[in-house]
């Protein structure tokens, strides 16, 4: 939804106004749908499985299509490799339009560009694991020794070493799906379609397979289109998610966009059960840093900042704006009283710093350990924002924090304002340090 228009060569699969209707006269159904009739209104003519689905899948992306059973997601994925013909609309795979081409050309596209993993594995039961994995290569016409050698490397890759000569029926469900995945990987196509690939597996094995899929994807850079009815799976795997309902795509966006900005009540209702802590990242909940000074600013500026914002700590940056640590009001106060000017000796590094893509679930522990806000820094250690405990709780609990006029985001001041003012007034003139004062 929020994508800028990508360059065409970076698009792996493109679906353009796809319709699929089942019935005696599917084209008439599509015509009525285009004229604005609803799915219920055409139910006497037949079933509209997919209605006006358009999306683009970028190369190397995991694109998840999520919806409950009957939402048309399985039909949609089968149109992407031409297993089912589209009633209307076009599908482009790697720049080739596959709608309306001959059966032979379609087979060619499937051999070279797009392979598939099935919900119930769909292995050939009379063939050994290695022959199953080599199946795509066999169809591509590769010689036996060559394809078996390649299949063996894939078997090792998906963690089935030692099982090559077993029949699928001798493997557990998770292992069978590894064979299914291996078969698709061996075919060495750019695009992988996965139709509820992990839905038939035990939860523990499913999690393991999801993690392995992400590793494999990172290593091999495949474009993956993944179908699931499990929102947590969608959120875990997807770079982007398309939510389907009654044949229509109701929202396309990143997991966070869908979670934080659902397009309608249906999506909102759907995502309310999601484990937000695993989906939301530090970047999506962090607050701007208000209480911050540079290292060279000195204790008086630090104290002034804390007084103005009424907090007990302030974040300290190095000269290159990288995150140095925090200082506490008590330490600063002592320093000011003692007349010292170098903050460095009292900078504490007990504030945790995390990367923006860290999941919230990983912030809980540091947040418990220390009352200090967690600093969010980028790869160059630049401070991007902070996550106080309250913000973390509010994000996990899906409570909006910006209802009150002044959210409390920092530990409150432990020293009264008047006391600080007195001390600032008692000691030397602080005009020198004013320039590096508080930044909002």
């Amino acid at each position: 939804m929020t994508d800028s228009i990508p360059r065409p060569e970076s698009i792996a699969v493109k679906a353009d106004h796809l319709y699929k209707a089942f019935g005696r006269r599917p084209h008439e159904i599509v015509k009525k749908l285009k004229a604005g009739k609803s799915r219920a209104e055409i139910s006497s003519l037949g079933v509209a499985a997919v209605i006006d689905a358009s999306f683009e899948v970028k190369k190397g992306e995991i694109f998840v299509v999520m919806g409950l059973s009957g939402s048309g997601k399985s039909t949609l994925i089968r149109m992407l490799n031409g297993l089912w013909e589209t009633t209307s609309g076009t599908v482009t795979v790697g720049g080739t339009d596959i709608t309306g081409v001959s059966a032979k050309e379609l087979r060619d596209v499937r051999r070279k560009s797009i392979s598939m993993v099935f919900q119930h594995f769909a292995l050939l039961p009379h063939r050994t694991v290695i022959d199953n994995v080599a199946y795509g290569l066999e169809i591509q016409g590769m010689g036996r020794t060559e394809r078996l050698a390649k299949a063996q490397t894939i078997i090792d890759l998906v963690g089935l070493a030692g099982w090559a000569d077993n029949l699928p029926s001798e493997l557990s469900g998770g292992m069978q799906q590894r064979v299914g995945l291996g078969r698709a990987l061996a075919a060495d196509t750019d695009v992988l379609l996965m139709d509820e690939a992990f839905s038939a597996l035990d939860p523990l094995i499913r999690r393991e397979m999801q993690e392995q899929l992400i590793e494999l994807q990172a290593a091999l850079g495949k474009t993956i289109i993944f179908i699931t009815h499990d929102l947590n799976e969608a959120m875990f795997l997807g770079d982007r998610i398309a939510v389907m309902r009654d044949g229509r795509i109701v929202q396309i966006g990143t997991p966070e966009e869908i979670l934080t900005d659902p397009a309608n009540d249906y999506v909102a209702q759907f995502v309310q059960d999601v484990d937000r802590a695993r989906v939301l990242t530090a970047a999506s909940v962090m607050e701007p840093v208000r209480s911050v000074i540079t290292k060279t600013a000195g204790p008086r500026a630090a104290l002034r900042t804390m007084r103005d914002l009424q907090t007990s700590v302030t974040f300290v940056l190095n000269r290159d704006r990288s995150f140095a640590g925090i200082v506490r009001d008590r330490d600063v106060l002592k320093m000011v009283k003692a007349g010292e000017t170098d903050l460095r000796s009292i900078i504490r590094d007990d504030a945790k710093a995390v990367l923006p893509e860290t999941a919230l679930v990983d912030l809980v522990e540091p947040s418990v350990e220390s009352e200090l806000p967690i600093a969010v820094v980028d790869e160059k250690n630049r401070l991007l924002g902070v996550i106080p405990r309250v913000t973390l709780l509010a994000a996990i609990g899906n409570v909006t924090t910006n209802t009150g006029p002044l959210p409390v985001v920092m530990p409150p001041a432990t020293i009264s304002v008047s006391q600080i003012t007195d001390i600032l007034g008692d000691t030397a003139d602080d005009a020198l340090f004013n320039t590096e004062g508080a930044r909002a």
Binding site: N81, L83, M116, F118, H120, A122, L123, I139, L171, G173
Partner: protein, 315 residues
Amino acid sequence: MNDFRLPLGSVVESFVDYITDTLGFLFVFIRALFDGAYESVEFLLGAPPFWAIMLVLGVLAFGIRGWKFAVGTVVGLLVILGVDQWENAMDTLALVLVASVLAIAISVPLGILAAKSTLASNIIRPVLDFMQTMPAFVYLIPALILFRVGVVPGIVATIIFAMAPGVRLTELGIRSVDQEVVEAGQAFGASPWRILRQIQLPLATPTIMAGINQVIMLSLSMVVISGMVGAGGLGAQVVASLNRIDIALGFEAGLAVVILAIFLDRITASLGSADSMGFFGNIRRVLRSRRATDGLASGAGTTRAPQPVGEPARV
């Protein structure tokens, strides 16, 4: 009202007359072909001494089902020999083999066609119903006219009567192959022919073999009827005993049919079981396992120890 009569019978009669006149050469050819096939199979079964045939069938029984069945086969064949029906039984076996092979050669491709095309299926199904339910004697009449007395009309009538389950079960077998596995073949770009050869036929084999088993059983049940048109063998013996009210001969010939039936049924049923990898595969496996377990109590050695399986493949 009673004067009116649908001229169905005479229409069929004139149709048979017509094809007899115009396509006579074709029937002469078919007759020669079937006759030749029957004669050669009969020669193969009849020319060697009985013990040679017994040995071959015994080994076959052992290779496919194990030693118990082999013993049973030899005992059964000895009974046939003992009631002096050996030659008749071999004639009948030849007839059944030729008719079954031809029926299978026709019915399996038809079944594949029916599985691939709903239109073909819709046409073939009522024809099969007709062929299967029309009393078998009725086929004998045009078959007699077209092929004259002898073994050929018996074979033709047997084929028509027996092929229905072959077609039906082949169609059923292929249609009930897991659609997802077929889709997997398609999704990797396999051609329809390759999907048929590598996915549908192998997975449908148990069902197709059940159909073939039925074809053979029905062929055997047609033996007696074929005997009426001069096919010889055990069928002729039964017909003769019926004419002479000869209980002894009737029972002996009938028992011989039963023994053949049991033998053929068990053999083909075993070939259709899921573990089977085809007949020669079984023999090879037996030889291998006997070599491997030499000195051990190997038993029949035909069953493969299944390895422990994790969770079931399907939820």
